[in-house]
């Protein structure tokens, strides 16, 4: 394989990493948004403060991920976004609503704050639900039919639950006291739908696609791949155990969040293994969808320089705001 042939694979990886970064990073702040309506009035400001310095950059990963799809795989971009036209629009409206509500709620009149809190909750939920619906359709190959819609609907519940688990984990990590105790409760509530959702994805993709079935359930691949589902199950179990532990509000406050991120990563690798070399399952391979090598090289050069820099200042930003969250103030 020449370098030119491997370019689409490199870009697939870059796009995948962007999407994974998006799902994990915006996932926790969407999750916090969805928990808003359950929180006490006094805690809402702290919850928003915990995501305040990060959400802008978190959403930029979505722009990068979709940008990579658009730039590196224009044919797939048209096919995917054309098929998911309505949920994409709903997700965008959701992201718009929550992004602005976040700022408006502290700047508008006091008696409007409640309304903006509700917009923040509704926007987060709409965005997460639309993403779940889109993910459900995407991993089953963008097919039409009631069975596919039913599956997408299940994922439209499971993905928001996973975001809530992640968001609750984030709050356990970043807060203390009563809010932290609430977050532990919320994480426990979100755990079962996440487990069911992951199980559904693991069963549905091989059921829909011959390719996936063959790839996972033929010997000896089945045995070689066994660690992936087993580790995932182990991580899920550990999340539940850690939530029951008294140390989760103390020394182990990082555990639920870190383990949930691990579950997302494992799920992502499983999915990537199922899909490869397709960009759209059983329809379009990444080689078929890719832009010209010249274009990919130009962007690849920029990405090689800038992505490490982006990683560096992302780490810098998280270090600046490390530790438990205090009151958030402009300076």
């Amino acid at each position: 394989m020449t370098f030119d042939d491997s370019l689409p694979i490199i870009f697939m990886a870059l796009m995948g990493v962007s999407m994974l970064a998006y799902v994990v990073l915006d996932g926790y702040d969407l999750g916090v948004g969805m928990l808003m309506h359950r929180a006490d009035e006094a805690h809402k400001d702290t919850m928003v403060a915990s995501i305040g310095p990060f959400w802008d950059a978190n959403e930029t990963w979505l722009v990068l991920g979709v940008g990579m799809l658009l730039i590196a795989f224009p044919k797939a971009h048209g096919m995917v976004l054309g098929a998911l036209y309505l949920p994409v629009a709903l997700m965008l409206v959701g992201l718009v609503m929550r992004g602005v509500a976040f700022d408006f709620r502290v700047k508008a009149r006091d008696h409007h704050k409640q309304a903006w809190n509700r917009v923040f909750f509704a926007g987060s939920t709409l965005a997460a639900t639309s993403q779940g619906w889109m993910l459900g359709h995407y991993i089953t190959g963008l097919n039409d039919g009631w069975a596919f819609d039913l599956f997408a609907a299940a994922i439209a519940v499971a993905l928001p639950a996973a975001y809530v688990l992640l968001g609750a984990g984030w709050l356990i990590l970043k807060t203390d006291g009563a809010l932290q105790a609430h977050a532990v409760k919320w994480a426990k509530l979100a755990w079962p739908p996440v487990v069911i959702g992951l199980g559904l994805v693991s069963l549905a993709t091989p059921w829909v696609s011959e390719t996936v079935r063959h790839r996972w359930f033929s010997m000896p691949a089945f045995i070689a791949l066994l660690p992936i589902p087993l580790t995932t199950l182990g991580a899920l179990a550990l999340i539940r155990v850690s939530l029951n532990s008294s140390r989760v509000t103390g020394k182990l406050c990082w555990a639920p969040f870190a383990l949930t991120v691990a579950v997302f990563m494992l799920g992502f690798f499983g999915l990537a293994y199922s899909l490869y070399p397709f960009v759209v399952m059983d329809r379009l391979t990444l080689q078929q969808a890719a832009s010209s090598p010249a274009t990919l090289k130009v962007i690849g050069l920029g990405a090689a320089v800038t992505v490490p820099m982006i990683a560096a200042y992302t780490v810098f930003s998280y270090r600046v705001f490390r530790g438990k969250i205090g009151e958030l103030r402009y300076a």
């Binding site: 930029t60 990068l64 036209y85 309505l86 992201l95 718009v96 920029g302 103030r329």
Partner: protein, 453 residues
Amino acid sequence: MDALLLARMQFAANITFHILFPTISISLGWVLLFFRSRWLATHDRGWLIAYRYWTKVFALTFALGVVSGITMSFQFGTNWPGYMEKAGNIAGPLLGYEVLTAFFLEASFLGVMLFGHGKVSERVHLVATFLVAFGTTLSAFWILSLNSWMQTPAGYEVVDGVFHVTSWREVIFNPSFPYRLAHKLLASALTVAFLLAGISAWQLLKGTVNSSTVRVLRTGIAMAVVLVPVQVFVGDLHGLNTLKHQPAKIAAMEGVWETERGAPLLLFAWPNATTRSNDFEVAIPKGASLILTHEADGEIRGLNEFEGAHPPVAPLFFGFRIMVGVGMAMLMLGWVGGFIGRRRRWDAARLPRPLLWAFAAMTFSGWVATVAGWYVTEIGRQPFVVYGLLRTAEVASNVAPARIALTLALYVTTYLALIVSYIAVLKYMAEKPESALDHDTPVPLPAPGSQRA
């Protein structure tokens, strides 16, 4: 309505809404850097209050820009899939570089800039503020490069209907790019100038003055006094460049149907697309030729030379006059304000109320001029998406019209509600007393020479 028109309306609604906010944040970032450094240099409370108030405006504006920008990144694909398939080799890298070099930079350091005080040193905070301002400007660089390339394509070859790059230098620095970039950055600065002056004037009128008000008013007026004339000059150069590369656009802007020497400058007219002539003309003889060719008898090519390939006339004709009209009003008000302010030694109590009302009325005049100007240049590119080479109709998606109409209604409703909220919140914040900004941040006065505040 057909799918193409609906797709264009949806995209236009989205970019119109989007551009309002970057137009403010590009320059406001630099103004914040100015306020902050004045505060650090003088320890004058007024500058700190100015920084705090306008940081809030910046945060809100930036958020609106980010979320509407995300929508745009999807709509390139959903509305114009053919564009990326045919011009993706050029548009892709330019958009990609914008995300990689600018978006992450501004979004990441925004957090440090907004909330990092007390967690990082004064110097790091100032660097973060600089990087946010730099990021917004860099983003304008890339996106205007792509926009200009669509107007005046260069550095490409077409193989089997697909554009390929022959020279990146020519693609990025295509013929209209330097003019468009300068014109846009100045438009941003002027939008901010009148926003600063307008909101300060409103505070003076409403009696909600704080220690920053007069400083901010002066800053805004000073920007207007200096930059409006520069914008007139750059706008003229941009017009000459357009005449050279896109004569049909100029013909539509000036309402010139037949090629003529010594074309008149139309102050008013009603372009009639059916009769292909103007009704109700009010004109200055030879004016258009004089302005565009700098010769009284210079030739302006008429629309009839471009029949079937020129943009609709009325939106360009009126859009251009709105933009220029607002610009003239800015010039007059800016200079009158600067003159009177100086004469009265910037004493808030002695500034005439009619002057303050005029500035308050012009608070969002930059938005009007910017949107009118963008309509002129973008509608002026029609019927092409890449000028002269690729028609918009060829790149549209085949999404059902009903779906586009439904989502269009959804977007427009959301956007209108948000514009109303944005303006209402700016007004509400302007009328809050200074103490409301104060309890926000207990910032200890940094000792002279110390680095940590």
